[in-house]
Symmetry: C2
Subunit: 333 residues, 2 copies
């Protein structure tokens, strides 16, 4: 399999209501069945009228931008300086929700397509109406964790499976390929970017010669690539998660539902505290003296202990009496 | 610019000491000046003898694997179930430090090349010795945050700039492209993966027709793509950072260096606490009564307040006396 990646020149300015399938087939009369079209989301957004008017400059512009960003945001993932990483309503994790001020006049911002998989399906139908059976990917440029530089990835797809699943295959040594699902639509988007460039003059590239799965139907699109926040190990920025831990420490309820406990973990946490005695289900803290100062210090110490146990995922309750405090944890698992 | 991506077939098994430039030029006599060779790190590791012997099965195998992983790990980034994401000594953030048991017999594990940029340079020199001026990328398969599926990215590169910098360019509307540095070596790796597949039979692909920067020298390689942990907003897993916040709450020193404070933030935190009075630089907590229980509760409350302020990045000191506690923060900025 040899691939060819061709830029599509001459598409020109795209404005709301334009028929992209028409513009693309006119600019690339050489399109053929089986081609994968990678279309920059920017022109999809423009054709779909996903622009909002904003002041050209001044503080009003920034205020308007913040309002637009809030509207595109499902939740804030991380913030540092002027950079805000959010999860969009689609589920994508992107800086500034993918809102873009480039390749548009200064009085507008371009939003991502409302439903990029639907955009890809509509575009694919437009090609089908012209007798062309192709796959369509709507792509955009994204940053990533841990590595400098941006790459293009897929926001929407139709007529191609987003994932190529090698699970169940065996390598020449008889090892099962157990964990390998390749995000081929992202790789195709990256490949296409290499011929597109950044100034909107080449918003489409065509990958020819790639044999892909899923061409019989539109398929579920890029939605299968979106990892939900709970199963993501990086669902929140480091600083934000750290602050959340501190906030949780501030808010520990006196009574919490207990869970089964690993005694070795409790022991290692409690070892860091003085004036305590440990049983199988609780820690008793006794004050150095009954002076007010020592009693106040005991209270702080009891809360420290509860936070230290919470850090090990061990919820506790606290009971206070005239002679000290008892911090209770769950019975051994 | 039209790109062509060709697989290189017939390289066969690679073993320690093999001359990869020789194997590749023999399998691809059609190589030409200006080509970008994308070489799967697996065969680079094998040629460099980066294999370790491990038991074929049983608990001994898993123990050996954990030992090898620890040796390849600079720091653990996140852990969940059997998955450990680490930063390697190179600086890459990868599951299991990129250690691989596929495409190798069951008594060996394959480590990443010790210095993939150096591997790429050596390979490029090997081609140069055969009269070929090419760029070399050493690639591997990686997962990423937020998106399902894997993609290939670059671990090492020579003769090509890892980043293509669009900063300072202007789009057709006169907007400066201020933030756009494309990680083209990652995009080339992704493109190459599309023709390589996963079973080690096609470990090399050639990208032809890509005009790249940096061909006059080896250049700094992929090292420029590595983001250091401090400037990374996702340097630690969410669960790990959250636990670190709780641990910090448990360990707050009675005296901490104070920093300038935003009074509005202090006010909003303190609003959540009872029995307190707020001045410009401290919060005074007074007990409901001087009974031992109320004094102990006051101590816990003072520590809660300190954790809540720490969550807003406000360090505090605490002083305890017979009538209550004083939590002091920095003067207004």
């Amino acid at each position: 399999m040899t691939l060819e990646i061709r830029p599509v020149h001459g598409i020109g300015d795209v404005t709301a209501g334009d028929d992209l399938a028409e513009l693309i087939t006119r600019a690339a009369p050489w399109l053929a069945d089986g081609d994968v079209l990678v279309v920059t989301s920017k022109i999809v957004s423009k054709a779909e009228g996903r622009l909002v008017e904003v002041p050209a400059d001044g503080p009003e512009r920034e205020e308007a931008r913040q309002r637009v960003l809030a509207g595109e945001t499902r939740r804030v993932v991380a913030r540092r300086g002027n950079t805000t990483i959010v999860q969009t309503h689609h589920g994508f994790v992107m800086a500034a929700a993918g809102i873009d001020a480039s390749n548009v006049d200064k009085t507008h911002l371009v939003l991502l397509p409302a439903d990029p998989d639907a955009s890809a399906r509509a575009l694919r139908a437009g090609f089908a109406a012209r007798g062309l059976t192709v796959a369509v990917i709507v792509s955009d440029t994204m940053g990533r964790a841990w590595r400098n530089g941006l790459t293009d990835v897929a926001l929407g797809a139709a007529g191609i499976d987003a994932l190529l699943d090698h699970r169940g295959q065996f390598d020449p040594y008889g090892n099962e390929l157990s964990l390998t699902q390749m995000a081929v639509v992202d790789e195709l988007s990256a490949a296409a970017e290499l011929v597109k460039g950044k100034t909107d003059r080449v918003p489409v590239a065509v990958v020819r010669g790639y044999s892909y799965n899923g061409g019989d139907s539109d398929g579920p699109g890029v939605s299968v690539l979106i990892r939900d926040a709970e199963s993501d190990m990086f669902g929140l920025g480091t600083t934000e998660a750290h602050a959340r831990g501190l906030r949780e420490a501030a808010a520990l309820a006196d009574v919490m539902p207990l869970t089964p406990t690993d005694p070795a973990v409790v022991e290692s946490v409690v070892a860091g505290f003085a004036q305590v005695s440990l049983t199988a289900e609780n820690v008793r803290l006794t004050p150095v003296s009954h002076s007010p100062g020592d009693l106040i210090r005991l209270g702080a110490e009891a809360h420290r202990l509860r936070a230290a146990l919470a850090a090990e995922n061990i919820p506790t309750t606290i009971a206070v009496d005239d002679d000290g405090a008892t911090v209770t944890f769950g019975a051994p698992a």
